[in-house]
Amino acid sequence: MADRDDILNALPQTGKKARVPVPAPPLPSLTSDAMWQIFGARLEELGGRLGTLEDVEVILSRPHVIDQESATRLGRQPGGVPIWEAEVGVTTADLAVAEIGSLLISTGPGRPRMASLSPVVHVVVMPKERIVATLEEAFARLSDRSTVMITGPSRTADIEHVLVRGVHGPGDIVVVPV
């Protein structure tokens, strides 16, 4: 801990300087449907898509894991194959963010982090009303648990700036608002 005090003492103690408040952006008053429409368009740009419960049934023919909440919603058993073997992960989400096509997913009981991460397909089944227009609104409602915000399929552009999807995380995302 000697380093701690050395560092803190070496830092300038200049003090305050007006803290500029981040002004809240004007809140667009959009209906949930309108927001889902924007969300869908954004998600598609990113290479994901909106889907239906029928789509989910087809996808679930592959080895999968399902989190607690989606299992209840789909009338299935939570869990599934060992996580590294799952090709599909089904999870819920806390919030969808329309303006950027993002999903916020917090951890918690029955909500394994790996389900949205290690499979090649990520299916999100979530209640329709869990959507906000802007990132600012979404972050004002952050869970205090570890949370991930997912914006489209995993991707890389490291090789010649050519876009490749699904390099480590899921290359496919299907979002099903119910």
Binding site: I83, E136, T156
Partner: protein
């Protein structure tokens, strides 16, 4: 005519031996990113100028209150169950990390690493490998850098200097799969190989993009998912951050996340934004059971007390490199430091001391493109000038021209006019910059009328 052997400054010397294909790779990506950056940010922020000013002021606030904010961060992290360590220099940081590793994996084994400039800065990999750990870079670009025994040449795009054929050859050599030039298939080969490393690793090491003082949340952004895997699958997660990577509150995040994604890659948002609130809680299914945060000084407190403190507002978006005409000609390797491009040209000498890199600041046309794209408005050109001045004052850099004669002439109207008349003669005499000019250009000739003669003849 062949140029006489001259002692070129390091960046110039590097440029002279750089392969044209490397230059082409760097240039092509840089141009693409800068174009999409512009489109994206203009679209995302109706008043981009005001947004950048705002971000810049938030970072000013951070630097002005840094010791309080760090104490706050430390306290919140502890409450979250994150173990906080302080490292005053690289050696101290390496020792802290090694001690954690020895406890978490006493018998060695695999350590998965997410891309982190701070770990590059302290040369962590070599150190851990030397004591027997199998350290694996998992970001695709960093993975290529590692298997090629290379160094990253851009802070965001580590293999910007390589084309797909070079990557293909490396993968074939490493036995990752059959030779292929398809980026998709190369990525798939890397995925397969690295998956096994994620499964076996007991420790994951990452950097931190933003640490939130108010909540103790560590924010990591990435596109591939390797950073999430590195910080989720292993039991122990070690995060290392330069002490300036703070934001006061979570309300500041939306602005910074959008600016970073737009500036770095022209995206609306990075694919994964990982907000870490500590280790796995009792009621949670997975995630690391131990999370460590190493707060690294390594010269930063010194920089914060000096004229280059603004460079610590940097959020490592890499836009200044992409837009820089010099960077586009020379690639990141020319800067001979982990921090390259305009950012590195200031940060490297600021951290290491001007004596270590006295000529680096001169490798710039001072065109100002970097400051213009910088999301936090860092006045890079001004600091490059200050570095040049400091190097000169301390006598550690060479003066390209002895200015005595110029100064003598330019400090009196009479001497100036006399000097102008003598210029044709002076041109025959050897100007110190003559060879550097004529190697690539014709000497200028005075064309047309002389202004002063014309003016005098009018009245």
């Amino acid at each position: 005519m062949k140029a006489k052997p001259v002692n070129h400054p390091a960046v110039e010397a590097f440029a002279r031996q750089l392969a044209e294909t490397t230059r082409d790779s760097v240039r092509a990506t840089s141009v693409k990113v800068i174009e999409s950056r512009k489109a994206r940010l203009v679209d995302a922020f109706p008043d981009l100028e005001a947004t950048r000013t705002q971000a810049s002021q938030i970072k000013d606030f951070v630097l002005a209150n840094i010791s309080n904010l760090l104490s706050q961060l430390e306290m919140k992290c502890r409450l979250n169950g994150v173990q906080v360590h302080w490292a005053k220099d690289a050696e101290s940081a390496r020792k802290i990390i090694l001690d954690i590793c020895k406890e978490a994996a006493p018998d060695g084994g695999t350590i998965v690493k997410a891309k982190s400039m701070a770990t590059e800065e302290i040369h962590l990999n070599k150190h851990l490998i030397d004591v027997g750990y199998n350290v694996v870079e998992t970001d695709l670009g960093e993975f290529v850098v590692q298997i090629d025994n290379d160094t990253p040449s851009h802070i965001v795009a580590p293999i910007i200097h390589k084309n797909r054929r070079e990557v293909a050859k490396s993968f074939e050599r490493e036995g990752l799969g059959p030779y292929t030039e398809s980026p998709e298939q190369l990525a798939a080969q890397a995925r397969k190989h690295l998956r096994e490393r994620f499964v076996e690793a007991k420790i994951g090491i990452s950097g931190v993009n933003f640490a939130i003082a108010e909540s103790g949340r560590l924010v990591l952004v990435e596109n591939e998912g390797n950073s999430r895997l590195s910080t989720t699958a292993p039991d122990t997660h070690i995060a290392i951050m330069g002490l300036e990577k703070l934001l006061p509150s979570e309300a500041d995040l939306p602005l910074f996340l959008k600016l970073l994604a737009g500036s770095a890659t022209g995206q609306r948002m990075t694919v994964y934004t990982h907000l870490i609130s500590g280790p796995r809680r009792k009621d949670e299914d997975d995630g690391p059971t131990a999370v460590h945060l190493v707060i690294l000084d390594n010269g930063r407190s010194k920089v914060l007390n000096g004229p280059y403190k603004d460079i610590l507002k940097c959020i490592r978006c890499g836009a200044c490199s992409y837009v820089c005409p010099v960077y586009r000609q020379v690639s990141g390797h020319a800067y001979s430091h982990v921090y390259s491009g305009p950012l590195g040209a200031v940060l490297a000498p600021a951290l290491e001391g001007i004596e270590a890199l006295p000529e680096l600041a001169k490798a710039s046309t001072l065109c100002g493109a970097c400051e213009e794209v910088c999301p936090v408005k860092i006045p890079i050109p001004r600091m490059l000038l200050q570095l040049r001045d400091e190097a000169m004052r301390k006598g550690v850099a060479e003066n390209p021209i002895p200015w005595t004669l110029f100064t003598f002439g330019a400090t009196s109207g009479l001497r100036w006019r006399t000097g102008l008349k003598m210029l044709p003669m002076a041109r025959i005499a050897k100007h110190p910059l003559k060879d550097g000019w004529t190697e690539f250009r014709e000497l200028p000739k005075k064309e047309g009328r002389d202004f002063r003669k014309w003016w005098n003849g009018r009245s």
